[in-house]
């Protein structure tokens, strides 16, 4: 039996307003417990909520960025339940009429592009924090977080693997930071994902019973949790059991999901429109204003088009570069720097626009060499040991034929292992390690002749039609020159000599 995994994500993004969604208390992280909770946040008798305009503006900004419908009329609703970190005994949220509906996010999964639909996004307030350690059988309640504005973003169950879910989560994480609505700090809890996971026989169009997985503080946990949960459900079904709809917690130490003690699925929240808040009416002029601001800030899509138009990238290359604001920034700095260094006009671009000439090369370098290095060390591009200016310099030396691609990789590696500042260090490395490409034709010719003489078997095989033999000969030339021979010239010389 072949199984299909179906995943939907619910993401809570803390909006970057200075004060809370319904009170004027500060949202700054790290304050002493209960020092940032006003009368409204503590739910004293008689207090009332007042909506924070900045939270609404950020929600609209998000909706516009994902091409969603901004509901001109939306309603705040009370979600009623009892817990000590929920002072009012209800959470103010949005239920039937959220502010944002029906958007989509384009996501790169490896090298292919997938569109994940966003069902809705709504505004709500965060609860406080419950701390169960350090209090000897009691729980500590810190209400600093109570009332922080959240945007709850709900995706359609469009993801079909843990990898897709992670790609979506990363793209969403990048977007909210890009458009400046959320700082995305997962350690501080600014960006939290819950995964809804179910399985079904491949080819079926009916959804299986889903479980909600909570406590996923990193993309890594998200990935492992989904994989574990999918396996658990498949094994359960293959053994003839049924999946119970429940909420499960992910345990990163044991790499497993566990059912939460309370029967969450039985909760009736008794939603009703909050009578303390009038319906949220969003005027057209405000939406226009936010749209203009968004264009000024730039969204990934806007940048993607810009890179295609003005930097000569293909749609695919641009899609990879816009995966985070930091990557895009690195790309722009490096490309502009390379244009400034202007080593030569590359003949294959056919354009005199510097950015167009060098954009593609930089993009490919970032998504290839740099990405591989970052992945190996589990680093973010903002932690790159090679700066964009240095990256540009390495490319400049490739353009002017000082370095071959292989040698450039060596220079990059050398710099990564011994980070230094400034771009002059690249030439220093080339000189100190003798990594300059061997491009002297007469010298090369001599070596080629030597290799041909020393490898008569390969020559014979090549003449007999074995293409692979050519590569072997190229390899021998490379070996003889410690990898420094200019590959283009080696190719040309070999072909000439072999009469190919």
């Amino acid at each position: 039996m072949k199984w299909e995994i179906v995943v939907g994500l619910e993401t809570h993004a803390q909006l970057s307003t200075a004060s809370k969604i319904f009170s004027g208390a500060s949202t700054a992280f790290g304050a002493a417990p209960n020092t940032q909770a006003s009368a409204v946040d503590i739910a004293l008798p008689g207090v009332l909520p007042v909506l924070n305009r900045g939270a609404v503006e950020r929600a609209i900004r998000f909706g516009l960025a994902v091409g969603a419908t901004i509901n001109r009329h939306s309603v705040f609703a009370r979600k009623n339940y009892f817990y000590p970190d929920l002072p009012k005994g209800y959470q103010i949220s949005q239920y039937e009429l959220p502010i944002v509906e029906k958007g989509a996010l384009s996501v790169m999964v490896g090298d292919s592009e997938k569109t994940i639909r966003i069902t809705r996004a709504h505004l709500e307030e965060d609860a406080g924090k419950s701390l169960h350690e350090d209090f000897h059988g009691m729980s500590g309640i810190d209400l600093n977080r109570a009332g922080t504005p959240l945007l709850e973003i709900v995706s359609e169950p469009d993801m079909r693997s843990a990898a897709e879910a992670v790609a979506y989560a990363k793209a969403l994480h990048s977007l909210v930071r890009w458009i400046g609505i959320c700082d995305g700090n997962m350690q501080e809890g600014s960006f939290r994902c819950d995964a809804n996971v179910s399985v079904r026989p491949q080819g079926s169009d009916k959804l299986g019973t889903r479980c909600e997985i909570k406590n996923l503080n990193s993309f890594r946990f998200l990935e492992h949790a989904i994989e574990f949960e999918a396996r658990r459900q498949i094994e359960l079904l293959e053994d003839g059991g049924t999946v119970i709809q429940e909420t499960r917690l992910y345990d990163p130490d044991k790499n497993e999901t566990r059912a939460m003690r309370s029967k969450e699925d039985a909760m009736d929240y008794r939603y009703f429109p909050d009578p303390d808040l009038p319906p949220l009416e969003v005027p057209e002029e405000w939406i226009s204003e936010i749209t203009s601001n968004l264009i000024a800030i730039g969204t990934p899509k806007i940048k993607q088009n810009e890179y295609i138009q003005d930097y000569g990238l293909t749609k695919h290359e641009a899609a990879l570069v816009i995966q985070s604001p930091e990557t895009a920034n690195y790309f722009e700095i490096a490309t502009k720097q390379l244009a400034k260094l202007n080593p030569a006009k590359w003949s294959d671009s056919g354009s005199y626009d510097a950015n167009v000439m060098y954009g593609g090369a930089i993009a490919r370098g970032i998504t290839g060499l740099l990405a591989a290095q970052l992945n190996r060390e589990d680093l973010d591009i903002s932690q790159s040991k090679v700066t964009p200016e240095q990256f540009a310099m390495i490319h400049a030396r490739m353009v002017d034929n000082t370095l071959s691609a292989k040698l450039a990789r060596e220079v990059f590696q050398a710099l990564w292992e011994n980070p230094a500042s400034g771009i002059d260090v690249i030439d220093t490395i080339i000189t100190n390690r003798g990594l300059k490409q061997l491009s002297n034709n007469s010298e090369l010719e001599k070596i080629v002749d030597q290799v041909l003489a020393a490898n008569p078997k390969s020559v014979e095989e090549f003449r007999a039609g074995k293409g692979k033999a050519f590569n072997a000969l190229v390899g021998e030339v490379m070996k003889a020159t410690q990898g420094k021979a200019n590959p283009t010239q080696v190719n040309e010389l070999l072909r000439k000599k072999l009469g190919a």
Binding site: L44, V47, L48, V50, F82, R270, P275, D276
Partner: protein, 486 residues
């Protein structure tokens, strides 16, 4: 001093013929003695009151007196007042000292009024007789075996027994107007949104409104001037240009169309009440008003609609009383759930629990559409009836309550009977309209009868005009309960 109106008292204070401190001492003494007998107050604090009185005297001496400077005002114990115990008539908040002032309290303080204490009320404003208070029932000074009405019973009695010249109350389904009627005083509920609800402990958010009690319409207008106005801390507070509610008092009401809803004069009203109301209407004819018959066909739905919506909102508003952060917490419990259960079982009285249960039920999955949603739709119809009626008339007149004051204990055992006391007042809250009650006579047992005046949206000045003109022609509002004099 006993019978000075606010206007008269204000004049005496401004002319410095009497000091605020003297006035405050006078009423404090009455509150502590007669007030105690009638159980009108939950909290009196001589020190705080006199401190405010001294401050008022300083302002008067500096020539900065306003119409309310130095005037004692008794506040329903539903308003948070900074540094004052604020109980809302409940055991749940018996130990709660409010750390901030309600907007309304703040406005009175700014006007230089002197807080005379916190008046008794039905627990969490749920009641029509002031019998559900954890602090014991309030007694009607006209007959101490009867109820004063509720939920603002203490404030109504403070006025009736001359324990204070002014008082505040709140009205969700009639809780100012009905006790005003049963206690023989004047009480007004403004249009929804005119007074800020910030700091007013919430019962039913879409229905609650603060309002004044006094002995004359003019005094109500002076109090409303202080209380009304936009507050950014209340999202349901209306931003409108400020009004002087005294501006139309002296206007002639000749030719004014007074609407008489046929549903207000159908069965269910006590005969004495019906007679007294009819006599009052005849008085209005004499003043040149034009009676117009109107109809409010959906009025009969008001009590059921109200008893779905108000408990629903209350069940959610009262969730915060859980023993975690303030207020009562059960002394013994085994775990969190047990703490919640015991705290709320012990802290809340029976009527409050009843309404929380009803409210939870009508909001629950499977019942929401049939009850809550349906009630909201019917609420719109009830409001539409008034909108249509006000095309034909300027104000609506009728009884405030179907009966005069009933005996303590008489209806307490039958909640539905109790709920029906509000049959004429509830629709006004559902529609968000302003309404008031003024004395218009007595029944054969000497108990007061109240006349209800209902205005169109923002029609407070017109209602007060009508009431004031009536009070120039008839003097029911000047009568005093027996034994109150000394």
């Amino acid at each position: 001093m006993l019978n000075f109106t606010i206007r008269q008292l204000g004049a005496e204070l401004a002319a410095r013929r009497v000091s605020s401190v003297e006035v405050a001492r006078y009423f404090l003494q009455r509150a502590a003695t007669l007030g105690k007998t009638l159980n009108a107050f939950i909290t009196l604090d001589e020190e705080k009151t006199l401190a405010q009185a001294r401050a008022a005297d300083r302002r008067i001496a500096a020539g900065e007196a306003g119409p309310l400077t130095g005037v004692p005002v008794a506040h329903k114990d539903i308003f948070c007042a900074k540094g004052w115990r604020t109980t809302c008539g409940s055991k749940m908040l018996a130990n709660f000292t409010a750390p901030y002032d309600a907007h309304v309290i703040g406005r009175f303080n700014a006007a230089g009024a002197v807080p005379l204490g916190k008046t008794n009320m039905d627990e969490f404003a749920m009641g029509s007789s002031n019998e559900t208070s954890f602090y014991g029932p309030v007694k009607n000074p006209w007959n101490t075996e009867t109820v004063p009405g509720g939920s603002s019973g203490g404030s109504a009695v403070a006025i009736a027994a001359r324990l204070a010249p002014a008082a505040t109350g709140t009205d969700t389904g009639g809780s100012i107007r009905q006790p005003a009627a049963l206690s023989g005083v004047c009480g007004l509920k403004p249009t929804y949104g005119v007074c800020s609800r910030y700091g007013m402990i919430a019962f039913a958010s879409s229905l609650d409104q603060a309002g004044p009690f006094a002995r004359t319409a003019e005094d109500l207008a002076l109090l409303l001037n202080a209380m009304a106005g936009f507050d950014a801390r209340d999202s349901t507070s209306l931003e409108r240009p400020p009004e002087d509610y005294t501006r139309d008092l002296a206007r002639s009401i000749k030719g004014l169309r007074v609407g008489l809803p046929r549903e207000f004069f159908a069965a269910g009203i006590a005969p004495d009440v019906a007679r007294t109301i009819e006599r009052a209407i005849a008085e209005f004819r004499k003043l040149g008003c034009e009676p117009v018959e109107v109809s409010l066909p959906n009025m009969k739905l008001s009590v059921p609609v109200y008893y779905v919506l108000a408990p629903a909102e209350a069940s959610s508003n009262l969730s915060r009383f859980d023993g975690v952060r303030y207020g009562y917490r059960a002394p013994e419990y085994t775990d969190l759930l047990d703490m919640y259960k015991k705290t709320r079982a012990q802290g809340f009285g029976a009527e409050v629990k009843r309404r929380i249960l009803i409210g939870t039920y009508v909001l629950s999955h499977g019942y929401y559409d049939a009850y809550y949603l349906k009630a909201q739709k019917l609420r719109r119809l009830i409001a539409n009836d008034f909108i249509a009626a006000f095309r034909e008339c300027d104000v609506i007149l009728g009884p405030t309550s179907p009966t005069t004051a009933f005996k303590i204990g008489e209806k307490a055992a039958d909640p539905v009977q109790m709920y029906l006391s509000d049959i004429y007042t509830i629709a006004v809250n559902l529609a968000g309209l302003p309404g008031m009650s003024i004395p218009c006579g007595f029944d054969s047992g000497g108990l007061p009868v109240g006349l209800q005046i209902i205005g169109d949206y923002f029609g407070e000045a017109k209602m007060l005009n009508v009431a004031h003109q009536y009070q120039q022609a008839a003097d029911w509002h000047m009568r005093m309960p027996p034994g109150v004099e000394e």
